[in-house]
């Protein structure tokens, strides 16, 4: 009885700590797996592995970073054969799909002009992100979107701290250049 109660408590604690990050994990899983089915599988496996090793999570630390580390480790371990090949073969089409998926889910409650402006900005930034190399995009998104600190990004990506810093710096420079280029292009076409 006592055990059953403690296991219920454990599950409750896990759900409270981990489930609020499900969408954030799915966002990263989509970018890694490059299709929805595999991303959902990757997400589910990540959650289960996290649950089984929840005793290793240090309360007070960043749960999202811990979960993302498990997700990336699991992806790197080649859980599903063919992911790497998919990564190698995929390109702009997925970025476009992701863009449409993400933008379609934007639930702006503002006026129509604002929604249009937001969607335009979202498209612009996603297109600019799609043009920069994967390692820079991945690092920037972990810092700016997932809001991890540099050490947490280093842990998730299994790279040195100095590499995180240089990727962020270089990534922002590339992104800025890409945005300027796209903005000029949009100006020329009048969109």
């Amino acid at each position: 009885m006592g055990k059953s109660r403690s296991s219920r408590d454990r599950r409750l604690q896990f759900e409270q700590a981990a489930l609020p990050h499900l969408d954030a994990l799915y966002t990263s899983a989509l970018r890694l797996a490059r299709n929805r089915d595999d991303a959902e599988d990757l997400l589910q496996e990540t959650v289960l592995r996290a649950y089984r090793s929840f005793h290793q999570f240090n309360p007070g630390t960043n749960c999202r970073a811990w979960l993302l580390t498990i997700l990336y480790n699991h992806f790197r371990s080649g859980y599903r054969r063919g992911w790497r090949e998919q990564l190698a073969n995929s390109g702009d089409e997925f970025e476009q799909e992701l863009e449409s998926l993400s933008v379609a889910q934007d639930d702006g409650h503002d006026n129509p002009e604002r929604i249009v402006a937001d969607h335009s900005a979202a498209r612009l930034i996603q297109r600019a992100l799609a043009t920069i190399p994967e390692e820079f995009r991945e690092t920037l998104l972990l810092v700016d979107l997932q809001e991890l600190d540099y050490q947490e990004v280093a842990d998730v990506l299994n790279i040195p701290l100095g590499t995180v810093k240089s990727r962020v710096s270089r990534g922002r420079a590339l992104l800025r250049a890409a945005l300027e280029k796209l903005a000029i292009g949009a100006g020329k076409t009048g969109t």
Partner: protein, 311 residues
């Protein structure tokens, strides 16, 4: 601090609030007095806000969310029964079985001698097993002896090596796997799995990282009768886990197992914990051996994911 220094060394980390102490004060002081660097900092922060504000977090579809919750419920139940409760469940099941056999025998009255003999043997076995937590001793098992001896030899100084007949590219490839592993670059498990595939042994590479064991590397060797086999070593703060894959068509699971979990059977053998797995293809078996308590190995294996293509 010059503008050049600021832009080169501090701008990015300043925008991300990663500076502390004296460096933070120096950076703050510089931008307070330099409009150009202040604009650069503001621009970096705008870029961050642009990503945060316009790259949406994608919602998990409702059906996927439901599947995950349901899988979590199942995992929660299975975790409840492992490992001590699992033992209790096995004993409880055996007791029920024993009672059922006794009830059947008493209902049916006199039974043929052969059936009575079989029932007696079964009852003795069941009663012996259900008597308490101490399991049937595992008989001497050559494959386990090999695993234990190899573990004791290799635990402290395992060096991933090329197979002896490596005139081809295997030598360089193995060294590369080892170096990448030491650099902690992260792709080593699939690289090693590929190496095993090329060598013709099962691609068994576990991911024990979530339970605190890193992959050290692998060796491909030959068994005494010339068949390929592999050793894979994992190391963590708790010690080591050695995985051995070899062909053993004559091998049957010895009695005395403590637990069964999925395709793995767990034994305590000569001061070591062992997980035995039979692969369906080509009579390969895998033996995981460690000095950690058997309950820990059970938990670690249940967490880890195997990368085997032969499973």
């Amino acid at each position: 601090m010059t503008c050049r220094d600021y832009i080169k060394k501090f701008l990015t980390v300043h925008a991300d609030d990663e500076l502390i102490g004296r460096e933070r004060r120096a950076a703050d002081s510089h931008v307070a007095g330099c409009i150009v660097c202040r604009q650069q900092l503001a621009e970096d922060r705008r870029l961050k806000a642009l990503i945060r504000g316009h790259v949406p977090i994608t919602r998990v579809p409702a059906d996927a969310r439901l599947r995950i919750r349901s899988a979590l419920g199942r995992a929660s139940q299975s975790l409840d029964v492992a490992p001590n409760a699992l033992e209790g469940m096995i004993y409880s099941t055996l007791r029920h079985l024993r009672d059922a056999v006794l009830a059947t025998v008493s209902r049916t009255g006199p039974v043929p001698a052969s059936i009575a003999a079989i029932a007696s043997v079964a009852l003795i076995a069941i009663i012996t097993t259900s008597r308490g937590p101490s399991p049937i001793p595992v008989p001497a098992t050559p494959a386990f002896d090999l695993a234990v001896a190899k573990f004791d030899t290799l635990a402290e100084d395992f060096v991933p090596t090329a197979p002896a007949e490596s005139e081809d590219s295997h030598g360089a490839y193995y060294a590369w796997v080892m170096d990448r592993d030491r650099a902690g670059s992260g792709d080593e498990s699939s690289d090693l799995a590929r190496t095993y595939r090329e060598a013709g042994v099962p691609e068994e590479v576990f991911n024990f990282e979530p339970v605190g064991y890193g992959l050290i590397g692998g060796q491909v060797a030959e068994s005494a009768d010339g068949r390929p086999m592999s050793y894979t070593m994992y190391r963590g703060e708790k010690g080591q886990i050695l995985s051995i894959c070899l062909r053993a068509p004559e091998m049957a699971a010895p009695v005395g197992a403590r637990y069964w979990a999925g395709t793995h059977t767990f034994y305590e053998y000569k001061g070591h914990s062992i997980a035995l797995t039979f692969y369906p293809a080509e009579h390969y078996i895998s033996i995981l051996v460690s000095r950690e308590p058997i309950n820990d190995l059970l938990r670690d294996v249940s967490v880890a994911e195997t990368d085997s293509s032969n499973s």
